[in-house]
C-alpha cells in the first residue's frame, strides 16, 4: 500500500475524473529535435493537448550583429543561420544588396549561383530524408543519405573551400570561379544520384510501416498553412502554391524547366512526397544547367566600400525550408540601419502546436521531422 501523499492523491483523482494532464519536457538536448529546441508538451494520456516551443538556446542576435557589419561582412554571418542551406541564405542577402545598389551581375555568376543553390537543396533534402527515416525508427537510410551528401560536400569543398558555411555568394556575383573539376564531378554525382534516388523510394517511401507512421498524421489545411505563414515543402504539402522560384523568379529560374511540386494531402506523408519529388526537380535543374555555364566574368565590378542608398529593400529566395526574406532598412551608410531575416523555420514552427494537437506523442516526432527544423535558423 502506498503512502497517500498529496501528489499521489491528486494524480489518482486526475486519472479517473478529468483525464489528467501530464507535462513533459522534450529537449533542449534531444536527438529528435535536431538541435537545441525545447518543447513543453502537455499530455492527456498519450494524446497531445498542447505543445509550447521554448526558443532561444542558440539565439545570437544576428540581426543586431549585422547592424555593425558592412554590406560585405554581414553575409558571412547569415551562413550560420540555416546552415543546411547556407548558399541560399547568402544568395538572399547578396540579392538584397544588389537590389539596393542596382548592380546587374554577370550571366556566368547567375548560373553558378543557381547551380549551387540546387546542389545545396539536394544536400539539405538528403540530410532531411535520412534524419526523417531515423526519427521514425529506420536507421539505415541515414547512412545512405550521408553517403550521397558527402559527394555534394566534396564538390562544395573544391569550389568554395568549405563544406558547410560556404560564404561563396557575395554582392556582385560569386567569390571565386568554379573549380576546373566542378562540371565533371557534378555530372558524376548526377549519374550516381539518379540511381540512388530510386533506391531511396524503394527503401523508405513504399515501406508500409513508414507509411502507417506518416499517413493521416499532423494534418495542416491550406487555409491554416497560409495563416501560419508556412512556406516551402511544409505549405506545398497542403496545396499552397508558394514557390518563390516560380512566383518571383530570380537569376535564371525563369529559363529552366521545372515543376512546382504540390500535394493536397496536408499530412506528414504529403510533405514527405513533396520533398522527395523536389529532389528530382532539383536534379533536373542541375542537369539542364551544368553544360550551359556561360563564359565570362564571375564577379561584377563593385566599389570597395558598398553604400546602399537611403530606403528599404526586400528580397526573397526559396531555401530548402521555404521563403527566406531579407529586409534591409538603410540610412545611406556603410552598415544597415536595421536588418530583418524572415526565416522559414520560424513560421513553420509556429504551426507545430496546431498540427500536433490531438495526435499521439509518438506522432510528434514524425510531425517535427516533416517540418525539417533547423534551430539556428529559428533562433537567429
Amino acid at each position: 500500500m502506498y503512502r497517500q501523499t498529496e501528489i499521489l492523491k491528486k494524480a489518482a483523482s486526475n486519472e479517473t475524473e478529468d483525464g489528467g494532464e501530464l507535462v513533459i519536457n522534450v529537449g533542449p538536448q534531444h536527438p529528435s529535435t535536431h538541435g537545441v529546441l525545447h518543447l513543453v508538451i502537455t499530455l492527456s494520456g498519450e494524446t497531445i493537448k498542447n505543445v509550447e516551443p521554448h526558443l532561444g538556446y542558440i539565439h545570437r542576435s544576428i540581426e543586431k550583429m549585422c547592424e555593425s557589419l558592412s554590406y560585405r561582412q554581414f553575409i558571412y554571418v547569415t551562413s550560420r543561420m540555416d546552415y543546411l542551406s547556407s548558399h541560399i541564405n547568402n544568395h538572399g542577402c547578396a540579392l538584397c544588396v544588389e537590389k539596393g545598389l542596382q548592380i546587374e551581375i554577370p550571366p556566368r555568376a547567375k548560373v553558378i549561383r543557381v547551380l549551387m543553390d540546387e546542389l545545396t537543396r539536394l544536400a539539405s533534402h538528403q540530410l532531411w530524408w535520412g534524419a526523417m527515416a531515423m526519427d521514425v525508427g529506420a536507421l539505415t537510410p541515414f547512412f545512405h543519405a550521408f553517403r550521397e551528401r558527402e559527394m555534394i560536400n566534396d564538390i562544395m569543398e573544391e569550389t568554395c573551400g568549405a563544406r558547410l558555411t560556404m560564404n561563396y555568394m557575395v554582392p556582385g556575383g560569386v567569390m571565386y570561379d568554379i573549380h576546373p573539376n566542378f562540371q565533371k564531378r557534378v555530372k558524376e554525382f548526377i549519374e550516381e544520384f539518379k540511381r540512388k534516388i530510386d533506391e531511396y523510394d524503394e527503401l523508405v517511401t513504399g515501406n508500409i510501416i513508414f507509411q502507417n507512421r506518416m499517413k493521416n498524421v499532423g494534418y495542416l489545411s491550406k487555409e491554416d498553412a497560409i495563416s501560419y505563414g508556412c512556406t516551402g515543402p511544409t505549405a506545398r504539402g497542403s496545396g499552397v502554391i508558394c514557390d518563390i522560384r516560380k512566383l518571383y523568379p530570380y537569376e535564371v529560374y525563369d529559363q529552366v524547366q521545372f515543376n512546382e511540386v504540390t500535394e493536397t494531402g496536408g499530412d506528414c506523408f504529403a510533405r514527405y512526397l513533396v520533398r522527395m519529388q523536389e529532389l528530382r526537380q532539383s536534379l533536373s535543374i542541375v542537369e539542364q544547367l551544368i553544360d550551359n555555364i556561360p563564359e565570362g566574368d564571375f564577379l561584377a565590378k563593385t566599389k570597395a566600400v558598398l553604400k546602399l542608398p537611403k530606403g528599404e529593400f526586400y528580397s526573397r529566395v526559396e531555401t530548402a525550408r521555404g521563403e527566406f526574406g531579407v529586409y534591409i532598412v538603410s540610412e545611406g551608410g556603410t552598415t544597415p540601419y536595421r536588418i530583418k531575416f524572415r526565416s522559414p523555420g520560424f513560421s513553420n514552427l509556429s504551426a507545430l502546436n496546431h498540427m500536433a494537437k490531438g495526435y499521439k506523442i509518438g506522432d510528434l516526432v514524425a510531425i517535427m521531422g516533416t517540418l525539417d527544423l533547423v534551430i539556428p535558423d529559428i533562433d537567429r
Binding site: 491554416d224 495563416s227 526586400y314
Partner: protein, 151 residues
C-alpha cells in the same frame, strides 16, 4: 490589382492614410488606434484579401518605433506594406494574431526584442531571451558592456 488601384481602394477604406514613396510595394502609414479594424478589413474585404503576412518587424528610429507589416494576397498576388508609428516610451498596439496566426510568434519576438506591447495577445511573453532579461536588445540605445563588442 495594380498598385494604382490598390492606392485608390485604400484611400476609400482609410481616409487618413499617408503613403510613402520609393519602396518596392505600396507603403501606407496607418494610425495605431484603428489598426485592428483596418487589419480585419484588409484580410476579409473583397479586392484586398491579404491572407498572408510574410514579414512582421519593428524599427527603432531613436525617437519613435515603427511597426512594419508585409502583406500579400495569395489570390490576387498583390502586396502591401503597412506601417504604424508607436510612442517609444510606451509602445502599444492591438494584436493581429487572431487575423494572421503567424503574428502570434512574430509579435512575441517584437515584444522580446523591442518591448512593443501587443494588447489582447493570447500569450505575450519573452520568446528568445530569458524572462529576467533587462532591456530590449534591438533598440538602438541598448547597452551591454560584457557581451556587446563595439566595432
Amino acid at each position: 490589382m495594380t498598385n494604382e488601384e490598390l492606392k485608390i481602394k485604400l484611400t476609400e477604406l482609410i481616409p487618413s492614410v499617408v503613403f510613402e514613396e520609393g519602396g518596392e510595394w505600396i507603403t501606407a502609414f496607418v494610425e495605431g488606434s484603428n489598426w485592428k479594424t483596418i487589419a480585419q478589413q484588409l484580410r476579409s474585404n473583397e479586392g484586398f484579401e491579404f491572407d498572408y503576412l510574410f514579414c512582421l518587424t519593428c524599427i527603432d528610429w531613436k525617437t519613435y518605433l515603427t511597426m512594419v507589416y508585409h502583406l500579400t494576397s495569395t489570390t490576387y498576388r498583390h502586396s502591401l506594406v503597412i506601417k504604424a508609428k508607436l510612442d517609444r516610451n510606451n509602445p502599444e498596439l492591438e494584436t493581429v494574431s487572431d487575423i494572421w496566426r503567424t503574428a502570434e510568434f512574430n509579435e512575441r519576438e517584437a515584444y522580446d526584442l523591442f518591448g512593443v506591447k501587443f494588447l489582447h495577445h493570447p500569450d505575450l511573453r519573452r520568446l528568445l531571451l530569458t524572462d529576467d532579461f533587462n532591456g530590449y536588445p534591438l533598440r538602438k540605445d541598448f547597452e551591454d558592456p560584457i557581451n556587446m563588442i563595439k566595432l
